[in-house]
């Protein structure tokens, strides 16, 4: 270090002057910065208010948690949905809002993406579609998560309505066939009853003749003439034929009544299979019922080959499963009809049931034309149909898959060979409890 001489007066004067100019510059800079900060602060406030407005306008519930899974922020939709307050000092715990274990981490939350339930104050539970995204600090690290929960109640209600509408549509489409199925036995039952009516009148007439003969027995002069009349009447009535045919007519009439009763019973079982909740059900019986209901759809184009295995009762919503079976069987019949057309030939629908491991497996195979490669990916799309306008809405398989996959935790898939046919495989857990479904 050099020995520094004290500054001269001239230097000190210059430095003082420069110091004063520095102060003026710094004051000006501070003023500029202050103004800039004020503007930036106002912009920040506007942005904050804008973001607040967006969050509170969202119709979906928003929950922001920190890295330890503590709730940091909820929006008004969350409050409206759950009843918990929005104030920062009254923030609910995460396990108050979602079905999570105490100490749930961000990773646990991310794993919940998809269908979930939101808990409300008072214990009510609401089905939601949960979307969880990590709040990334860097590419590899996160210090929280943003959860968006969409209330699914209205969607589920609409889906139920759509499913019901499709069921009614199916029944509507089957109505003509069912009427035909009922009409045939009704006709031969009617014919038999008319025959019995005529035969009964004839027999009554003959009995009257015999009564007349018995009445004139004391004056024997009329007997001979009366006997001739009765012989002629017996000839006319063809009593041997009547006696032979009456039991057959009664049997036909009873058969017709049984047939109608079976159809009506199947219709009732199909349309009103019990409550809307899952219960243990006989799937083989459900297949028989469904075949009965849609007999007219396949009986002219296919024979049905049943290979029904020994099944335990399956925990399911029978009405929904009936709907799936109906869609598969009718589709199989239509696929075969497309091949045999009006040639008079018939194809084959094979329905098999079996238990594999924990699953019930139902296969519906047809000898139709198969599904072309180019439309295979769209088969389960809503509103996709290859049928003519008015013949199908394209909802059948879409709804069938939702019933099987979403409603029963199962799978619905198919294998198809063009020119040979298609096999649909329905697979659902046999004994799954409601909690696990």
């Amino acid at each position: 270090m050099n020995t520094v001489e004290p500054a001269s007066v001239e230097t000190l004067t210059k430095r003082l002057d420069r110091a004063q100019r520095k102060i003026a510059i710094l004051e000006s800079m501070i003023e500029d910065r202050t103004r800039s900060l004020f503007i930036k602060s106002a912009e920040l406030e506007r942005s904050k208010a804008f973001l607040e407005r967006i969050l509170d306008t969202m119709s979906s519930a928003l929950i922001v948690v920190d890295g330890a899974g503590r709730v940091q922020r909820v929006n008004r939709a969350t409050t409206a949905l759950t009843g918990y307050g929005i104030a920062a000092d009254a923030m609910p715990q995460l396990r108050d809002l979602l079905d999570v274990a105490p100490g749930a981490t961000v990773e646990d939350l991310v794993a919940m993406n998809g269908d979930a339930h939101m808990r409300c104050k008072g214990g009510k539970s609401i089905p939601v579609l949960l979307s969880v995204a990590k709040l990334q600090t860097t590419e590899d690290e996160a210090d929280g998560a943003v959860c968006i929960a969409v209330d699914m109640r209205e969607k589920q209600r609409l889906e139920m309505e759509l499913r019901q509408a499709q069921k009614l549509e199916s029944i509507g489409q089957l109505a003509a066939g069912i009427a035909h199925e009922v009409n045939t036995p009704i006709q031969f039952t009617g014919d038999s009853i008319y025959f019995l009516k005529d035969a009964f009148a004839d027999l009554c007439r003959l009995i009257d003749g015999y009564e007349g003969l018995r009445a004139c027995a004391p004056s024997l002069e009329d007997v001979s003439a009366r006997c001739e009349d009765l012989a002629a009447m017996r000839e006319e009535i063809d009593v041997d034929f009547v006696v032979e045919e009456i039991p057959a007519a009664i049997a036909r009439a009873l058969d017709g009544v049984d047939r109608v009763a079976t159809i009506v019973s199947a219709m009732k079982a199909f349309a009103h299979p019990g409550g809307s909740e899952k219960a243990h059900q006989d799937i083989n019986a459900a297949i028989q019922t469904t075949l009965e209901v849609c007999r007219n759809e396949y009986k002219y184009v296919a024979t049905v080959d049943l290979k029904l295995g020994d099944l335990p009762l399956v925990y399911c919503k029978l009405g929904d499963i009936n709907q799936v079976l109906l869609n598969l069987i009718v589709n199989a019949a239509h696929a075969i009809e497309g091949v045999v057309a009006s040639s008079g030939a018939t194809g084959r629908i094979t329905i098999a049931t079996i238990v594999e491991g924990e699953d019930l497996v139902v296969t519906v195979s047809d000898t139709g034309g198969g599904i072309p490669d180019e439309i295979r990916e769209r088969v389960f799309d809503p509103f996709f149909t290859t049928k003519e306008v008015g013949a199908g809405t394209g909802q059948g398989l879409a709804i069938a898959r939702r019933i099987v996959v979403d409603g029963h935790g199962g799978t619905l898939r198919f294998e198809s060979v063009v020119g040979e046919g298609t096999t649909f495989e329905l697979r659902i857990p046999v004994g799954r409890t409601e909690a696990g479904a």
Partner: protein, 180 residues
Amino acid sequence: MFNVFEDFVVQNWGEDFYEDILESSTLATLDPFVAPGTYPDADLIALVGTTVTKLGIPLRDALVAFGSFAFDGLVKTNPAFVDEHTDIRSFLATVDSIIHIEVRKLYPDAVTPTVLVEERAATGVQLTYRSERKLCPVVEGLVTGAARRFGLAANFSHPQCMNDGAAQCVFDIDFSPVEG
């Protein structure tokens, strides 16, 4: 840096000498230098050039000495950047990733150099410096000042230098405890 340079000159050679340098240098900036301002590099180079001419010392030595002095001045304004480290190598690793980022936040017009640090051997580092200013002696002085802060002496080898036509300066630096 301009105010640090003023302190450096005043402390070593007095206020008269600094006024002399200021009046003898051709500067683009007419107003006094203030800390929050951003000024042309050419002005600092002009001041340093005038200083070494008047003192008759080599430019490189002056820049190294200035860098070493400047480190203490810079630490005074933001001691936390250094104080949270107990190891010089971990501190040097934050120069680019933290300190220069903070500088650019405070002074949006500032152009900071690139300083990459990789640990080398048991106690050393390899420091790569890239800047259009090519002020590698200042870097050497700053690292010397930093080493002093951690009670170390820095021994430099400088196998690549931008002033010799290299694309970047590479320093291999070994640190050793200051004896006594």
